[in-house]
């Protein structure tokens, strides 16, 4: 294929993918500001901000839900990355007996059904008095997020050249300084991706939050599902947009900010 037609093909592919990727947001946006957009109208004729103002009002209970989602995801992200760092380092740089078992136990929560993880976390939180609490929900979100963070950070640490650290230490740098000036810059991209994943996973949790939070802790996924039954299309669309957009944007910003080779 010659250069010109290849360029055309490349444009076509990018455009098609762009349309497929961005159309959902366009549809949600239009639906959220449409008034009475029902069958058979392909395009809405009237527009209103009713759905959005309802979302922002205290009557809908959406704002506390957003606050919970953001707060929980934020704390889960920080905790997950912090806890995963030492574990990933040990797993990446050392060989020891039982490593396979630990890797297996790390992968298992990721591959297990969310119902199993959620009901298990629920049973556990009941036993230790964490049920219906923010702390319990945060702790239960750590189960699906930490394995991902550890696995991602293992990749970063595997690529790390410990010689630089040794050199810095032999030159008299404190462990903290070594981390700040040698280790951290090297693993920062991996940390960013791990953080993005942790945030996304916590943000999207449904069953876990429902079971452990007992319905008392409302997050966006829970609110979205309960609103679906209201059959108010505009409000559902607005809520879906509120749920989907931050997740996509945060992920892309963090992952894109630290783009390295892939």
């Amino acid at each position: 294929m010659n250069i010109a037609s290849r360029k055309h093909s490349q444009y076509a592919v990018v455009v098609v993918f762009g349309i497929v990727a961005l159309t959902p947001f366009l549809l949600l946006g239009i639906s959220s500001i449409a008034a009475n957009w029902r069958f058979p109208s392909v395009l809405p004729s009237e527009f209103t901000l009713r759905a959005w103002s309802y979302l922002g009002s205290s009557a809908s209970g959406v704002l506390p839900s957003v606050g919970n989602s953001v707060g929980i995801a934020f704390i889960v992200t920080i905790l997950a990355v912090l806890i995963s760092l030492p574990a990933a380092r040990v797993l990446a740089l050392n060989r020891f007996r039982g490593k396979r078992v630990i890797m297996f136990l790390l992968i298992l929560p990721i591959l297990s059904p969310s119902f199993a993880v959620a009901s298990g976390s629920h049973a556990l939180s009941l036993r230790y008095g964490l049920a219906d609490s923010l702390a319990g929900v945060i702790a239960s979100h750590l189960v699906p997020t930490i394995p991902y963070c550890v696995l991602l950070l293992i990749g970063s640490f595997t690529r790390l050249d410990t010689d630089f650290e040794d050199q810095a230490r032999s030159l008299g740098a404190s462990p903290l300084a070594v981390f700040r000036h040698v280790t951290f810059p090297a693993i920062a991209p991996g940390m960013a991706i791990a953080a993005a994943f942790a945030f996304l996973i916590s943000w999207s949790q449904y069953l876990t939050t429902l079971f452990v939070g007992g319905g008392k802790i409302q997050t966006l996924p829970l609110t979205l599902v309960s609103f679906q039954r209201s059959s108010d299309d505009a409000v559902t669309a607005a809520l879906t947009l509120t749920f989907a957009l931050p997740a996509v944007i945060i992920f892309m910003v963090v992952a894109g900010f630290f783009k390295n080779e892939s």
Binding site: S9, Q10, V13, V14, F17, G18, A21, P24, L27, R38, F39, P40, V42, I83, S84, P86, A87, R89, V90, I102, F104, L106, L108, P109, I110, L111, S112, P113, S114, F115, A116, V117, S119, G120, A123, L124, L142, V143, I146, L152, I154, G155, T158, R159, I193, A196, L200, Y206, P221, L224, V225, Q228, A237, T240, F243, V248, F251, M252, E261, S262
Partner: protein, 274 residues
């Protein structure tokens, strides 16, 4: 002394994951033990139907996503390599929460949805794609969501390997098909397998998409388990835990395969994950 230090470093992560997950699992198993729960579960027609439904849905969704994902990766690698915009476009469906994807698809393919409005005059004329007995809508949602995932993983592998092998083969006179079968395929096969295993495990246990796009019967195991868990008849709860334990055993088997594949990859080159 060094060994002790290593374990201490692993301890917080291990404690959280092991503690919460395994502890929860053990408690679930304990909760599932009163009375012959497992015998009851295996004989329960609802569970059996759900198992068949879940397995076929998962197998089909994984196969289709693997096919489309690999094909997409090859297409993108050949036509639009290194395109930053394209990578960004691929990241969007990846980071889209499954629940949101379900709602978006619902508004598109429901009988009174957008696509139906383009083609028929009354909602009843549009084929039933959501809440149907075959889970077509559910299947569509999974394929749309997991194809970009598999494509991304395979694309990463393709990007890592250079063109040298392919050029050499071309110079030696190999045809397109020969190059694909003997050069490209062995390179992407592990990546496809790896990501397909992951998709299989996820879809098998997933709850949200069938919940929004499916119906009460037949449905997936996760929803049956949830229903028994929340049932007013508390006698059904042990069975819910039994289903959870059984599904986790399936996940454990898949995890073992996953680990084996990952180790084979790790021995030959850099870790597959990013």
């Amino acid at each position: 002394m060094v060994k002790f230090k290593k374990i201490t470093l692993l301890f917080p992560a291990a404690f959280v994951v092991l503690g919460f997950f395994l502890g929860g699992l053990i408690l679930s198993a304990a909760n599932s033990l009163p009375s012959p729960t497992y015998a009851r579960m295996f004989a329960d027609p609802e569970v059996r139907a759900a198992f068949v439904f879940t397995l076929s849905l998962t197998a089909l969704a994984t196969a289709l996503s693997a096919l489309c994902g690999t094909a997409t990766a090859l297409l993108l690698h050949n036509l639009a390599r290194g395109s930053y915009i394209l990578r960004t476009f691929l990241q969007i469906p990846l980071s889209m929460p499954h629940l949101a994807a379900a709602f978006i698809l619902l508004s598109l393919i429901a009988p009174s949805g957008l696509i139906s409005r383009l083609f028929v005059s009354v909602p009843e004329d549009f084929p039933i794609l959501v809440g149907d007995a075959f889970g077509i809508g559910i299947l569509m949602a999974y394929v749309l969501k997991e194809t970009p995932f598999i494509a991304t993983v395979v694309l990463a592998t393709l990007a890592r390997t250079g063109d040298e092998l392919d050029s050499v083969a071309k110079n030696l006179g190999a045809s397109r098909w020969q190059r694909f079968r003997h050069v490209t395929l062995p390179i992407i096969a592990p990546a496809t397998l790896f990501s397909s295993l992951f998709v299989f495990a996820y879809v098998f246990g997933a709850f949200e998409i069938p919940y929004i796009l499916g119906r009460q019967y037949p449905t997936v195991l996760a929803i049956v388990a949830n229903r028994k868990f929340a049932a007013t008849d508390l006698g059904e709860r042990p069975e819910a835990f039994a289903i959870a334990v059984a599904m986790t055993i399936v996940a454990a088997v898949l995890a073992w395969f996953f680990l084996r594949l990952g180790q084979k990859q790790g021995e030959s080159e850099k870790p597959l994950l990013f």
